[in-house]
């Protein structure tokens, strides 16, 4: 797709991974079983599935915030723990998780600060990122002075700040209004296109997954597993018109069918596909 940052090494390589919480107790949960997931360099992959199917858990395995019970996780060709130490990824969680004692711009600076950047370049990069998420005027505000959606945008700016080769995002646009959401989706695609960043993206929205992704990975719960992978060949220059494209709707239907467990009744289909 792009030359910059593109290499033969896969961004994410999960092989036969499983995660059991509280093993051997009555609260044992098989959160994930036999997960095989591949994210190529510069590729955008979405995880979609009903609540509790293990999307966040899978993301946290890749981020090495938790260890797999079985199988292996590699990021940019390195074992997950090493990749985390080498800061191979940036992460945006379901909750913004901003530090309330820091100003907005200082929140965005944090990952750079920990990497040992000097004050000048740090501030400059953080301001660029804030402009990107259209919050340049709020740099000196405190997080609690921002709405939930604005806080989430700060968290995205923070995840992007160090220009990591891989982005791990857990429903980052969930708290945004439709207009901001579409703007952020377009921006994310633009940034990733320009920088060759690979993305593993969790969402609940079928149109969002289809619009953003090269591939949509459909998961099902109890135990959490991957049921279908839907390739989305809509090309790399997607814009607002893409959402009106017939092939876009085809893909939305395909993902929805996969989510329903393949049994789609004709009536439901006839009722239309726009009402997600």
């Amino acid at each position: 797709m792009t030359e910059v940052g593109a290499s033969a090494v896969p961004a994410v390589e999960v092989t036969g991974a499983g995660k059991v919480f509280n093993p051997g107790t009555t609260r044992q949960v098989d959160a994930l079983v036999a997960i095989d997931l591949h994210v190529g360099p510069g590729e955008f992959v979405s995880l979609i599935g009903p609540s509790g199917c293990g999307k966040s858990t899978l993301l946290r395995l890749v981020a090495n915030l938790i260890e797999p019970t079985s199988g292996s996780v590699r990021v940019n060709g390195k074992p997950a723990p090493q990749a985390r130490l080498d800061q191979e990824y940036g992460m945006a969680f379901q909750q913004a998780g901003l530090f309330e004692w820091r100003s907005v711009v200082k929140n965005v600076e944090l990952p750079l600060e920990l990497k040992g950047w000097d004050k000048g370049p740090r501030r400059q990069r953080a301001m660029e990122m804030l402009q990107l998420v259209k919050l340049g005027d709020f740099a000196e505000h405190r997080p609690w002075q921002l709405s939930g959606g604005m806080q989430q945008r700060v968290a995205i700016a923070r995840a992007l700040a160090a220009h990591p080769p891989l982005l791990l995002m857990d429903e980052p646009f969930g708290a945004l209004d439709e207009m901001t959401r579409e703007h952020m989706q377009a921006e994310l695609l633009r940034i990733c296109g320009e920088t060759g960043t690979s993305v593993l993206f969790v969402t609940h929205s079928i149109p969002e997954a289809v619009y953003l992704s090269d591939r949509v990975v459909v998961m099902s719960p109890r135990p959490g597993q991957i049921t279908t992978v839907v390739p989305v060949d809509l090309g790399s220059d997607r814009d607002l018109d893409t959402r009106e494209d017939a092939r876009f709707f085809e893909k939305v239907t395909e993902v929805r069918e996969a989510l329903r467990g393949h049994e789609v009744d004709e009536l439901e289909l006839a009722r239309g596909i726009g009402d997600v």
């Binding site: 820091r102 990952p111 609690w144």
Partner: protein, 261 residues
């Protein structure tokens, strides 16, 4: 806007205070209460101004004891809470104990301390205030250092932050409001402890001992020292609030997590 809010905060209690003192004065005239039962506010004020030098010097003694206790107790409390955070086992042993100690009136220990030092020594009183402050600060700061938002810890882990960086970027800033809460509780507590410790004997130089020595002979004078004690306690409290407001941004003064732009 803020001036108006300030007025709204000050005027109602002020009006209440004036009315209360007026009723007090009136009740004594109407019911003919004897001065040894309850002296007139005007009389107390007279005693207060007449003895202002003595009130001031006694307040310096009691206030000094409270201040020493507050400073030493805070330093010790903060220091030990860092140790507790570092060593989990130690925390599990000490923390429940500290919580329990906060719930009992350890002021009674002052008579034990008095036996350990000479009669005129201020050390037992300072020790007592230190101990009271120490436990309040310890419990609160230890909580602040430990109860860090899980999302913050995960984020720092994803940045491969070292334990020292986690301490500096997350734990310590998180504990700062807890420290100020502890100071707001322990500043008045230190003053009260300093007064009450004087009730248990020793030199007759502080506000507490002047209250006890005047209760029978000159009730109005005793009340004048009570007034001094109130003012001293209030001063400690106000200073701790002022410290808090200049060091931490005022959260309540700004819009919440709504949709304000």
């Amino acid at each position: 806007m803020t001036v108006r809010r300030l007025l709204w905060a000050v005027i109602p209690p002020l009006v209440f205070g004036v009315v209360f003192i007026g009723l007090w004065e009136l009740a004594i005239a109407v019911f003919d209460w004897k001065p040894y039962f309850l002296p007139r506010p005007t009389k107390i004020w007279g005693q207060f101004t007449d003895n202002i030098d003595l009130v001031r010097s006694s307040a310096t003694v009691s206030g000094g004891n409270a201040l020493v206790g507050l400073l030493v107790g805070t330093v010790l409390g903060v220091g030990v809470s860092f140790l507790l955070m570092r060593f989990r086992l130690l925390n599990d042993m000490v923390n429940p104990l500290a919580v329990a100690v906060n719930a009992v009136p350890i002021i009674v220990l002052v008579s034990v301390f008095s036996n350990m030092f000479s009669v005129t020594s201020e050390v037992p009183r300072r020790l007592m205030a230190t101990l009271v402050v120490y436990f309040i600060v310890l419990v609160n700061v230890a909580k602040g250092l430990r109860q860090v938002d899980r999302a913050h810890l995960e984020l720092l882990r994803s940045y491969a932050a070292s334990p020292v960086q986690v301490l500096v970027k997350a734990r310590i800033p998180n504990a700062v409001p807890y420290l100020f809460t502890a100071l707001k509780i322990s500043a008045p507590a230190a003053v009260i402890t300093a007064f009450v410790a004087e009730y248990f004997g020793g030199s007759q130089n502080g506000l507490g001992s002047r209250i006890t020595s005047n209760t029978t002979a000159n009730t109005a004078a005793a009340w004048a020292y009570v007034l001094g004690a109130c003012l001293l306690g209030l001063t400690f409290y106000l200073v701790s609030i002022a410290l808090e407001s200049i060091t931490t941004p005022k959260r309540g003064a700004s819009p919440g997590g709504g949709t304000t732009t």
